[in-house]
Amino acid sequence: MKSLAELQAIREKARQQISVREESDDNIRVLVGMATCGIAAGARPVLTAIMDEISKRGLKNVTVTQTGCIGICQFEPVVEVVAPGENKVTYVKMTAEKAVRMVNDHLVNGNVVSEYTIGANAK
């Protein structure tokens, strides 16, 4: 069993660092549809990929939350990105690979991946 002492060490280390975790208003929210239809369509690997990539990139200004059914089951897995001063972007039929690109292009560099958006996929 992993030791709780390791967690204690994580706490000590965090205490020594100057907190940069201030609540700023450049916070980006990522919402992943995790209702039955989303999960059945593959939302879990998408969510895992987003979480992993965010932590790999050390992004501090992104909050990931799960939402229920957005009502567009045929487009699941659906990911919404809400960034301050921008229109909400809805990504559809996401996969883990697409999610990694979305994090890098959109969340890191600010470029919407148009080809994955609902606009490009709803004919």
Binding site: M1, Q8, A14, R15, M34, A35, T36, A40, M51, T65
Partner: protein, 177 residues
């Protein structure tokens, strides 16, 4: 669903939506039986709601007419010759139990339960989860209340270092059916 661990994720979402602050997920593998129990301290259901919850044409949500999560889980258990029960009390919480016969041809794999648990914890850092997985030989327990006590409110459960610790703890505890 292709894996029961996805159903478990879905069922746990109901608990989250119901405002639960503590969600317990217990998977027990003994012989050719797998029992999955999920309980929460959310707002619960009225008797009338409860009577309808395993009926696919009942949901209290108005955006969509059909709730499928619970009926699907029930069906998957019963298809293997197992059983399903759910009880709930308003203001107290909900408890659900599904038993599967793992040797049955219609059994779908448990799948990556660790991934489900890790996501539930790290995406809901303000909620507490107790995860228990036992087999004939081993018992594994992860209780986020214990972790929270050590972290002392200074470091959130979704801190990358903590996430990594939880991931490794889950891997060590991995005990497939």
């Amino acid at each position: 669903m292709q894996e029961l661990s996805l159903n478990i994720m879905d069922i746990a979402q109901n608990s989250i939506v119901a405002g639960a602050t503590l969600i317990t997920i217990h998977a027990a593998c003994h012989g050719d039986r797998l029992a999955v129990e999920i309980s929460d301290n959310g707002k619960g259901m009225s008797e009338e709601q409860l009577a309808h919850v395993t009926d696919p044409f009942f949901t209290t949500r108005t955006t969509r007419k059909v709730g499928l999560g619970v009926p699907l889980f029930k069906m998957q258990a019963e298809l293997t010759g197992g059983m399903f029960s759910i009880d709930s009390q308003t203001g107290i919480g909900t408890h659900l139990k599904a038993e599967f016969v793992t040797s049955h041809v219609d059994m779908i794999p448990l799948g990556d339960l660790n991934q489900t648990i890790l996501l539930l914890i790290t995406c809901n850092p303000d909620l507490d989860f107790v995860f228990i997985h036992d087999t004939d030989e081993t018992t594994f327990t992860l209780d986020t209340r214990e972790l929270r006590e050590v972290l002392g409110g200074e470091v959130p459960l979704n801190d990358p270092a903590v996430t990594q610790w939880i991931r490794e703890a889950l891997e060590e505890g991995e005990s497939r059916c």
